[in-house]
């Protein structure tokens, strides 16, 4: 399971970086989203994935004796997902506005020359 997740993270990061390096704005956005998801799975992986080992301590023990599923990474991911949801939805609206204004999906068309500044 862990090996599978590691490979998935690698694929998500690689695809994300590839998309970000493209000139299309939509691909840029997709790349950012893939990178964000890769990061979320990375955090999930680092929290000792085990089945059926809740982080509940025995009454007569002071510390955990056995490996347990760490709940904190899941809380972190939940926060990160909510944040990236907000950012992504903003980004989609922004790109739509840019497309409506400029009529192009190419990042190279986004350079208003200095002479046109106010």
């Amino acid at each position: 399971m862990e090996l599978l997740l590691v490979m998935l993270i690698g694929v998500l990061y690689a695809a994300g970086v590839y998309f970000i390096l493209r000139r299309s704005m939509v691909r840029l956005l997709l790349g950012i989203m893939l990178l964000g998801n890769g990061t979320n799975i990375l955090i999930f992986l680092l929290g000792n994935i085990t089945k059926g080992k809740p982080p509940i301590i025995d009454a007569d023990l002071k510390v955990f004796a056995d490996i347990y599923a760490d709940p904190i990474p899941q809380a972190l991911i939940l926060t990160a997902i909510v944040i990236s949801f907000g950012l992504t939805s903003f980004a989609i609206v922004l790109l739509k506005r840019v497309y409506a204004l400029i009529g192009s999906d190419d990042l190279d068309d986004l350079n208003t020359p200095e002479e046109e500044d106010i």
Partner: protein, 500 residues
């Protein structure tokens, strides 16, 4: 020492923003609330600063969870200073915004978003938890996205795409670093991390994690290979927004670099060299970029980049004198850079353009305002008794004592080019004869005296702060000295957070 008042500045801005949302589309009320809010924030920040300056490091445990388990807020000297400077800059910007920002933007929530942004900045400076720092960063960037795009002009949206892409990317890198850090140490509290990091067996994975933080914060603070988004977006929004961004947003990245690379990771030789090389290249590229620009705000954007190099290089030298110089420069820079963009906004009000070729003769028309601006420009260039001069002495001295002549040379070149650029700006904008006497659009003269005062007063406040920083340098040096001592010896911070 536990003190629940340290998050007062965060709460003041939160409640100001919420109150303003209740007065949606009532711009006059929002303006008054904004100035009142930033003024209250300033008073709380000054109170916090005095408490930390005369006493010791203050902490607050959120929901009374004990330190390594819950989220902790810490006000040490560095945090308190940053909060104080932020509140001064925010006060100036909110006064300037009252007339400097168009009514259309105010109708769509300029002021509430501005206060959410300042709230995020204060939170980022005060938190002692690394994941919480990430969350505050996100609060800051999402507010800054809205401020940057509010108005929806073509240039603004173009700048916003680059700004948005790079900042989300930076956050992703930062989050990856946080995840890895939690994976190796099992902790998120920065003081706890400082104790656990040296005990990690595999130090190379620690260094790898440090790189993620370096890239994440490096993008946000605009250091050499990662700064290109800054000059292509900071000239687009209204000047009040650009002032907030230029003075405060890149500096929160610098703050995070200072915090993480003095407390959590201790830089090794490779890291220090990397910081110095990045610093030198940031100074040179920023300075040379500034030379060729004709638009005032594009020029100032490159100067931001240039001067960030001084601070990063000072961090790279990592001696007491170098850190002192870097912190002093940070204190000077936050106030001056905010002021520069406000000045650009004022020049736009005076002449309707920010292109140096179309400007001229401002000194003949507005001698008093020009003299006020001259003080700020001189202090930026580092003319001796003013505030830009002192930190450079410390940086150069630190460079000499570390035998790092490349850094000394680049500081000198950077200062020299800054001086040249400022001299060119002065002669083009203020001394040159007015090139087009008849088509000048002066939207300043028809304003009522009260509104004129609202535009000039914030520049005066910040110029007075700059003068104070320069003329009372021994007090600022004491503050910077304490900050650099706390950076090199983190035991008091750790003890304050974790107890003994």
């Amino acid at each position: 020492m536990i003190d629940n008042q340290i998050i007062a500045t965060v709460l003041v801005h939160l409640f100001t923003a919420l109150l303003q949302l209740a007065f949606w589309r009532k711009t006059v009320t929002q303006r008054i609330l904004s100035i009142a809010g930033t003024l209250t924030g300033f008073l709380f920040a000054a109170n916090l600063f005095t408490k930390v300056y005369t006493g010791s490091i203050l902490t607050m445990n959120a929901s009374n969870w004990e330190a390594p388990f819950g989220i902790v807020f810490v006000a040490d000297m560095l945090s308190a200073t940053m909060v104080l400077l932020t509140s001064i800059a925010a006060l100036a910007v909110s006064i300037f915004s009252a007339t400097g920002v168009g009514r259309a933007r105010m109708l769509y929530g300029y002021f509430p978003i501005f206060h959410f942004l300042v709230m995020g900045l204060n939170g980022a400076f005060l938190t002692g938890d690394i994941f919480n720092l990430y969350v505050w960063f996100e609060v800051v960037i999402i507010a800054s996205f809205v401020l940057l795009t509010l108005g929806g002009r073509k240039a603004q949206l173009e700048g916003a795409v680059k700004y948005m892409a790079m900042n989300i990317l930076a956050s992703t890198f930062f989050l990856t670093g946080v995840g890895l850090l939690y994976g190796i140490t099992g902790s998120l509290n920065m003081a706890d991390l400082a104790l656990k990091i040296p005990e990690v067996e595999n130090q190379s994975i620690v260094n790898l994690t440090a790189m993620f933080f370096l890239i994440g914060f490096g993008i946000k603070s605009a250091v050499f290979p990662l700064y290109f988004w800054l000059p292509s977006s900071y000239h687009t929004p209204p000047s009040a927004v650009a002032a907030t961004f230029g003075g405060l947003l890149t500096k929160v990245g610098i703050y995070a670099l200072f915090r993480v690379f003095t407390l959590v990771f201790t830089p090794d030789e490779f890291m220090k060299t990397l910081f110095i090389v990045m610093g030198i290249l940031t100074i040179l590229t920023g300075a040379f970029g500034a030379i060729i620009k004709n638009n005032i705000r594009r020029l100032f954007s490159y100067l931001i980049v240039c001067h960030i190099g001084f601070i990063i290089g000072g961090l790279g030298l990592y001696t007491k004198v170098a850190l002192l110089g870097a912190v002093f420069y940070l204190i000077h820079d936050m106030i001056v850079k905010t002021n520069l963009f406000l000045i650009a906004g004022l020049i736009r009000q005076l002449r309707g353009t920010m292109n140096m070729e179309k400007l001229g003769g401002l000194y003949a028309h507005y001698p008093k305002i020009s003299l006020l601006i001259a003080v700020v420009l001189f202090s930026l260039a580092g003319i001796p008794p003013l505030s830009g001069f002192w930190p450079k002495i410390y940086l150069i001295e630190a460079g000499f004592s570390a035998n790092n002549y490349a850094f000394v040379l680049s500081v000198i070149i950077g200062s020299f080019i800054t001086l040249y650029v400022i001299a060119r700006l002065w002669s083009e904008v203020f001394w040159k004869n007015d090139p087009a006497e008849e088509i000048v659009t002066d939207s300043f003269k028809p304003l009522k005296p009260f509104k004129k005062m609202l535009l000039v007063l914030p520049i005066g406040i910040l110029a007075a702060t700059t003068l104070y920083t320069g003329l009372n340098a021994e007090i600022i040096i004491q503050v910077a000295d304490r900050i650099s001592t706390e950076m090199l010896d983190t035991t008091p911070y750790i003890q304050a957070v974790l107890g003994n």
